[in-house]
Symmetry: C2
Subunit: 371 residues, 2 copies
């Protein structure tokens, strides 16, 4: 079955679209990103967890699927994929509110999550069935509605005899630990710490915003990690705390950046330190639960940084460090592909959440189907 | 198939739940209304087409399905219906925004509609598959997302040799004209004018709010319609305008009430006039398009007013005036039943909109399915 996955994250970069063929294995047919225009980005921010008008939420809920449909159409055209060959779409939508701990309304306390980007509009505009709105069902079953990707990690990467760790190095880094022949209940997933976001901020700072990331880890290679700084950063109790745990973007935002800059060290040394810090905290996370994997399977933008990949291999002797490419999954497209796979599960009336990762009371069929 | 329909209208009265058995005919198994508490009503108003906070929309979107599930559970208990016998739920949700003419967002113009009351939460809480969010697909197909009930009228009441009119007397009155052996494209539906809302407001005024409607048309029977007033009211060009047309609640609100009270006529004469006005405008609507029906099939609260039903019969000689009861549809439950029937259509992968009524470019499968 040919399925498209459409992901737009809270970083508001834009719309990631992946098309995959789902059979005994997964094959990535096409992948691309369409950036949001500044006015769309502003419109999303204007309704994200803040005072706004019902009209703005409603209009944006109908506008986003138009943009998703255009992004999918563009991807098909550029890659010579017949849109009519796509049989199903999994669409994450845009999260504008998420409160798993609950909040007060009409005298009750209610946990809730709100993704916009209407599935019916997307189905009408593309002529393709859509599964949308994946998080509410897990939350209704007592889960946090996140993370959802570990379910897909387990589905794709679990091995009968080898212990594996699936790693995603996005803004934040997170791992899914998959014991050999693991039952779903044995899978543990959590955020290990920063992914690319500290490095990216330092590079942007060093270049006055002209560069957005350390291409090929070149700047880190020119600098040297500062051992004392790393030692100090690693003292944060987060890295020793047992899972479940979540690292927010706010944890590695401006305050963290200022702390690094305050050392007065050369910027390339700071970039080298941030690079090493990402690798070290990933390794800490893996060691934390005594995972000791045979293979580490990485995805996310961080896999393009040879410095990080090299450090991971160096810090994890005996572990084969590879990327999802080996499994037919473009490392940049993994999250979009995950929602294609989750949509396919729903279409087949199969559950798509991992209670050990989300905290749900039981497995549930995620999302809503627009025919 | 046993299907529940759950309707909560913009009047914010509460939650109407109907359970029907759908086969060759429709059988109403149970019907009931659970009023909203004042705090829920306030919370809905606070996010309805006005400045609010994303958090309030999100929390209420998750709270409402809890209330819907409770209302369905209560209905089952009071009527000795096994909840496990209900195989599907059609849930309209609560409209908090509707703008079929379109509005501006991020430099584009977008028509949109927003119903809250998450279907995934309702499915999880009841263990029953849910079809929710019926309006967006029709709007995405170029329709106004409303009215949706005429499709059900056509399904239930169309006759091979008789021309029929389905009438709903709610706050507003509307008709669906069904030519004999009509094709869907020949069905016309529109609002004829006030239903009960003018009468109800006069009765509330006369009783300082102690009575909310003219029980059995008793007050109208004690008064006499004022011919000059009726003549004047009927001069409004709305009643002669060709369909499609929509009468808003604002059209028969406080300003209309004050106009009646300003005549200084005895209140029962005004109530008698308002009653006659409802009947007269319904008749005008039927005559307007030369419908000349063999049968008029009424539903809505107005059917309990013998005065209105009597006037309709008197003004429409040769027309058999009856109610939906004859077709297994409790007249009070018709709207909730309509959404059970529309959900059943979606479940069977059949379209559920009537392009001649909504203006959509083509028939579409309505709603989103939560398994």
């Amino acid at each position: 079955m040919r399925v498209a996955g459409i992901m737009s994250g809270t970083s508001l970069d834009g719309i990631d679209v992946a098309i995959v063929d789902i059979g005994a294995r997964i094959r990535t047919v096409a992948y691309g990103t369409t950036p949001y225009t500044p006015s769309v980005r502003r419109a999303i921010l204007a309704v994200s967890n803040r005072a706004c008008h019902t009209a703005d939420v409603s209009r944006l809920n109908f506008l986003l699927p138009e943009l998703y449909a255009e992004a999918l159409g563009k991807l098909c055209r550029t890659n010579g994929v017949d849109p009519a060959s796509v049989e199903l779409i999994g669409c994450h939508g845009q999260t504008i509110f998420h409160e798993s701990e609950g909040g007060a309304v009409a005298g009750r306390r209610v946990a809730s999550t709100l993704q916009i980007g209407d599935g019916s509009v997307l189905a009408e505009r593309t002529g393709i069935a859509v599964v949308s709105d994946f998080r509410p069902r897990d939350m209704a079953a007592g889960g946090k509605g996140a993370p959802l990707v570990p379910f897909v990690d387990q589905l794709l990467f679990r091995h009968r005899t080898r212990r594996r760790v699936a790693l995603n190095i996005g803004g934040i880094a997170n791992i899914t630990v998959l014991p050999a022949a693991s039952e779903p209940g044995e899978v543990v997933a959590f955020d290990t710490g920063p992914g690319n976001m500290v490095m990216d901020q330092l590079v942007a700072q060093a270049t006055q915003g002209r560069a957005r990331f350390d291409r090929n880890g070149a700047r880190a290679a020119r600098g040297a990690p500062i051992a004392a700084l790393l030692e100090q950063l690693l003292r944060d109790p987060y890295y020793a705390a047992p899972p479940p745990k979540t690292a927010g973007r706010e944890q590695y935002g401006d305050a963290f950046l200022q702390r690094l800059l305050a050392t007065g060290a050369p910027i390339d040394d700071l970039i080298a330190s941030a690079t090493a810090f990402t690798a070290l905290t990933i390794v800490r996370g893996i060691r934390l639960i005594g995972a000791d994997p045979a293979e580490l399977i990485a995805a996310g933008g961080g896999v393009h940084n040879p410095r990080i990949m090299g450090l991971l291999a160096a810090y994890l002797p005996g572990v084969r460090v590879t990327t999802t490419d080996e499994f037919g999954i473009d490392p940049d497209a993994k999250e979009a592909i995950a929602f294609a796979i989750l949509a396919h599960r729903t279409w087949r009336r199969k559950h798509g959440n991992l209670p050990s990762a989300t905290g749900a009371r039981h497995p549930v069929i995620l999302g809503k189907i627009s025919l």
